[in-house]
């Protein structure tokens, strides 16, 4: 892979990008304080920025799909908006919400506002496409709700945004297709009020969509996304050696700034050897994610400091955390 750093782009974070200090409230709570980039990740984001296409990030849990969006927003110094998709999420929920219950209560109390806009609150895509419009709309909605009820952060007018639509595979199969128009043309219309929400081309957001691949996404949706898989490893890694080495590399990068400062590459390699046993013949190795591995090492450091933990304890820990029985697939 050619170094993406040589391309003409404003997205060139270093390999170990420090997203913030541990005490910094703005630091990404999922990554801690470091996100480990590589050329593939940098290039995918550079191309997504250049083409204005959504970036679909695939891969197993704990390999940094969601935190990639947060780390990118922090590097670009853009706003960050996030929506975790559930089985009940509809495409419209990401665009706007309408408080029908409040409108009904107002009608009963003879306080009904004639303007529907007073019952509309902006969703994540509205905030990302048109921050100023969303900010004004949120203010109007808050006024309707009553003073002091604003729990949402203030919008930074004119600032570009990174949007994370997390775990889209949990949604109903129609949801990705229902988002095609909004994500493609970067505009939508609020049905009840007729308001057009539109992004200025220069301020178009960078959209990250993650999937754990529990459900296949529609072909029409895939054809419009740029895809990135995390981690990208050769498929013949049945014994898990490559994943293990990558795991040690990533967690070491996280540890370089950890206050304990006690963890070395040798320490992590020894822990990985004991915690991740070689697979039984014919089976594929079960390798934990960097998030799981990092939490385990953190627990070890807390308990034993820089001393080596006894092998027996490590093996017990491995059984409790990594080599859990996988559910049978019928």
């Amino acid at each position: 892979m050619m170094p993406a750093k040589t391309l003409s782009s404003n997205f060139n974070p270093p390999d170990a990008y420090h997203t913030g200090d541990a005490g910094d409230a703005r630091a990404d709570s999922r990554t801690g304080d470091v996100y480990v980039f590589n050329d593939r990740i940098r290039l995918a984001i550079q191309v997504a920025l250049a083409t204005g296409r959504p970036l679909l990030v695939r891969g197993d849990s704990g390999w940094g799909k969601s935190s990639l969006a947060a780390a990118s927003a922090r590097y670009l110094k853009w706003e960050f908006h996030e929506a975790v998709i559930t089985s009940r999420t509809q495409a419209r929920d990401l665009e706007w919400n309408i408080d029908l219950l409040m409108r009904l209560n107002d009608a009963q109390a003879r306080k009904l506002r004639a303007d529907w806009r007073q019952y509309v609150s902006p969703g994540v895509l509205w905030r990302a496409l048109d921050p100023e419009g969303a900010s004004a709309q949120q203010k109007l909605y808050n006024q309707t709700r009553g003073a002091g009820s604003d729990s949402r952060p203030a919008q930074s007018a004119g600032k570009r945004a990174v949007v994370l639509l997390d775990e889209i595979d949990k949604a109903d199969p129609d949801v990705p297709n229902n988002l095609l128009v909004t994500l493609g043309s970067l505009e939508f219309q609020v049905e009840e009020t007729g308001q057009m929400v539109r992004a200025v081309k220069e301020n178009s957001p960078l959209v990250f969509i993650t999937t754990n691949e529990e459900r296949e996404l529609p072909a029409a949706f895939l054809r419009r996304c740029i895809e990135l898989r995390l981690p990208a490893l050769p498929t013949d890694d049945r014994d898990g050696k490559l994943r293990k080495a990558l795991l040690v590399d990533i967690v070491l990068q996280h540890w370089l700034r950890h206050p304990s400062g006690a963890v070395t590459r040798e320490y992590l390699e020894r822990a990985a050897e004991i915690l991740i046993p070689p697979p039984a013949s014919g089976e594929e190795a079960v390798v934990p994610s960097p998030a799981e591995f990092k939490d385990t090492i953190l627990a070890l450091v807390d308990r034993y400091g820089s001393d080596d933990a006894p092998d027996k304890d490590l093996k017990e820990l491995a059984q409790m955390t990594f080599t859990k029985r996988r559910p049978a697939r019928g």
Binding site: T6, S9, A44, L49, R53, S87, L101, L180
Partner: protein
């Protein structure tokens, strides 16, 4: 709507990222899922064999004339051997026997062994529509639609306080799916279709959300994943599960067998499902006119056929309430 990713995106990326090398251009194209190859460098064409091209004696940097000049004739091609310009069209090649190629004996017919190549049987559902058919069939109705105005009005009229907004029921994908696969003799011709539908269900509903159990006759007898001898009694799933039956409900009864389930057995099964509030759909590989009328009222049955569409499934007759 914005079109799928195309060479326009590639040009956009090249314009913005300004790749300097072919390697960078190829990497960008790969990220977009496209194939980009560096343009071939034009090579000087070698002279044709046995041909000598008369060199062009015109000076390379001739001054631009002030008035148009008549076109010069191209350099003549001269065959070195014959000394005759131009080319010849050869006739049909002669074989050793003296007969022409088109007079040779026809090739033998393929031997029966070679002809016994497995025929590609078209699947029962049109592959392009299968995803839509399956997702429509497996949808369950939940109160996630627009407000149920009728209910709201009636509650207000009764002076009751609305603590939540009643909503209309809309179809949404079931949280869990249990596929019950009839592996009896009468379903043998459809084994490949069953496998294909199971794969589609897993794709649409998610691998971990789908359980597959096999049965013969009816699931009430036994159902399991392993060998038939060790199938346990069927345990009904939770009410949040959608049961999908891949069966002929005893229509295609093979001769000399008594393993098929009768209408009464299937009615008992459907009654149990409805009593527990479990949604059920059956894909039946026979036309509706052959379905037992008593069963068609019990299940939501879908014709498993090339003509079936998601629209047919949506409007398929729903069972009567228990």
């Amino acid at each position: 709507m914005r079109p799928p990713i195309s060479s326009a995106d590639l040009l956009c990326a090249f314009r913005d990222l300004k790749p300097a090398t072919h390697e960078q251009k190829i990497a960008i194209a790969n990220v977009l899922g496209l194939d980009w190859k560096p343009p071939l460098t034009p090579l000087a064409a070698p002279p044709l064999k046995d041909e000598v091209r008369v060199p062009d004696t015109a000076p390379k940097s001739a001054p631009i004339p002030s008035r148009p000049v008549p076109p010069r004739e191209s350099a003549p091609v001269v065959h070195a051997g014959s000394g005759v310009a131009g080319f010849t069209i050869s006739g049909p090649k002669k074989q050793d026997t003296g007969s022409t190629l088109w007079a040779t004996a026809p090739a033998d017919f393929e031997s029966p062994a070679a002809a016994a190549i497995p025929v590609d049987v078209a699947p029962l559902f049109v592959p392009r529509w299968t995803r839509g058919i399956v997702s429509t069939a497996l949808a369950t109705r939940s109160p996630a639609g627009p407000p149920d105005i009728r209910k709201v009005v009636s509650e207000i009229a009764l002076g009751r306080l609305l603590r939540s907004l009643p909503r209309l029921y809309v179809a949404a994908m079931a949280l869990r799916v249990e596929v019950l696969v009839d592996v009896g003799d009468s379903m043998l011709p459809f084994a490949e279709d069953q496998r294909s539908v199971i794969a589609d269900v897993r794709t649409v509903a998610g691998f971990d959300n789908v359980a597959v159990l096999k049965f013969t006759g009816s699931p009430l007898r036994a159902a399991g994943t392993d060998e038939m001898d060790v199938w346990p009694d069927y345990v009904f799933p939770s009410s949040r599960t959608h049961v999908l039956l891949l069966t002929d409900v005893g229509i295609g009864r093979p001769p000399l067998t008594d393993t098929h389930a009768g209408v009464e057995e299937w009615r008992s099964f459907s009654w149990e499902l409805r009593r527990r509030g479990i949604a059920c759909t059956a894909f039946v590989p026979y036309p509706a006119k052959r379905w037992p009328p008593a069963l068609a009222r019990q299940f939501r049955m879908v014709e498993w056929d090339r003509a079936t569409t998601a629209g047919n499934v949506r409007f398929a007759r729903r069972p009567e309430r228990a």
